[in-house]
């Protein structure tokens, strides 16, 4: 297991969940490709807010593990596995610094099985 994998820091989780739940239009950016992947996986989830709610729900699961990524974009980025309606998903989110913006890079079916690698 990579040393970058471990429990996602509580502070990061709290901040990201609060922003996702808050619904402030300016604070969340979703990559178009991530939105398309989400819509393709859950066509019955009619509305786009379902993605933000599902991510927030997943990040509230106690002890959630994630893999830290170094991105060009300043801030902390974690990739994590989650389940929504019983379907496994991989998501990657950046909490930018100093803007405190949530960027959803990915939300798709896991490409490498149900384990972070």
């Amino acid at each position: 297991m990579s040393s970058d994998i471990g429990q996602i820091p509580t502070e990061w989780l709290k901040s990201v969940v609060a922003i996702l739940r808050e619904g402030d239009e300016r604070k969340v950016l979703v990559r178009r490709r991530a939105l398309k992947d989400w819509q393709a996986t859950f066509p019955e989830e009619f509305f786009e807010y379902s993605l933000r709610d599902a991510l927030a729900d997943a990040l509230e699961v106690k002890g959630i593990q994630g893999k830290r990524y170094e991105m060009d974009e300043p801030g902390e980025t974690y990739g994590f596995l989650m389940r929504h309606r019983g379907v496994p998903l991989y998501a990657k989110i950046n909490l930018t610094e100093p803007d405190h913006l949530v960027i959803v890079y990915s939300a798709h079916r896991p490409l490498h099985g149900e384990q972070l690698t």
Partner: protein, 272 residues
């Protein structure tokens, strides 16, 4: 190094939006919606912010015939109610209504029909309040009756009596009357479930069997009858079986008050 927020460029994109079919399993139609987005000049990636996502949601809701968040808020203000009392009248959580008003969530298609009826003035607050009153009255009215009836029922079972005393008769007729006056068959079913629920079997053992036996010819709907049968099957194995005597063996009417109801009561006997 610049951040995405500093270097991003405002663009307009055309997004394909799938409008779900009424049963929610397929796509009824696909429309194209123009929404604002952000482009990262560094790698060409496109991002949608809350505004773009909200516009997509709004287009979808409009095509599905759902009331918008603004319309939902306007409706509540026009009804002159705060979120909490209106939520109680509609039997939804207060937070749900808040989410509808802020566009964080949409009502389901079925509840949207109710909201549209309110919005178009086809039903009013007085109607909702009346429904709520009936709901409260029903609970208040039937619980004490059910308690009184329990004693009579247990006594009848223990004595293996074919004919009930005047007290038992009164208890049962009061409960029957309450059942008859209940607002809908659905609520009658609820009370029936209360009386026949596994955890109440000690209070009303065999009541469901009696109910089924005495209503076998009563012209129930297919669904209602099936629900009864399922409930009978779910009863504990040691539930007393109760039969209703054929008409020819029923006791003749007596001088008791309301003699027609006495037929119902004297019909009961335990199957040994």
């Amino acid at each position: 190094m610049s951040t995405l927020q500093q270097r991003r460029e405002r663009i307009e994109i055309e997004e394909e939006v799938n409008i779900p079919a009424l049963d929610g399993t397929g796509v009824a139609e696909t429309i194209t919606v123009k929404v604002p987005a952000w482009r990262d000049p560094k790698d060409g990636e496109v991002y949608l912010d809350g505004e773009g996502l909200r516009l997509l949601d709004r287009a979808k809701a409009r095509h599905m015939g759902l009331l918008s968040a603004e319309q939902i808020k306007k409706l509540r203000e026009r009804l002159g109610l705060k979120q909490k009392p209106l939520s109680e009248l509609l039997q939804i959580g207060e937070k749900t209504w808040t989410r509808w008003e802020t566009g964080r969530e949409r009502p389901s298609r079925s509840i949207n029909v109710l909201l549209c009826a309110l919005y178009d003035g086809r039903i009013d607050v007085a109607y909702l309040k009346n429904l709520a009153r009936r709901r409260i009255n029903w609970v208040e009215k039937t619980e004490p009756l059910a308690k009184s009836f329990r004693d009579a029922w247990i006594h009848a079972l223990q004595s293996h009596s074919h004919a009930w005393s005047a007290i038992e008769f009164k208890c049962f007729s009061d409960l029957s009357a309450a059942l008859i006056e209940l607002p809908s068959t659905a609520e009658q079913q609820v009370l029936l479930q209360v009386l026949s629920a596994p955890e109440r079997q000690q209070d009303f053992p065999g009541f469901l069997n009696y109910y089924v036996a005495s209503h076998a010819q009563a012209g129930q709907t297919h669904d209602y009858w099936n629900a009864l049968m399922r409930a009978v099957e779910d009863q504990p194995k040691d539930t007393p079986a109760i039969a209703v005597l054929p008409k020819s063996r029923r006791q003749p009417e007596t001088s008791e008050p309301t003699p027609t109801r006495r037929y119902t009561l004297t019909d009961i006997h335990l199957v040994s």
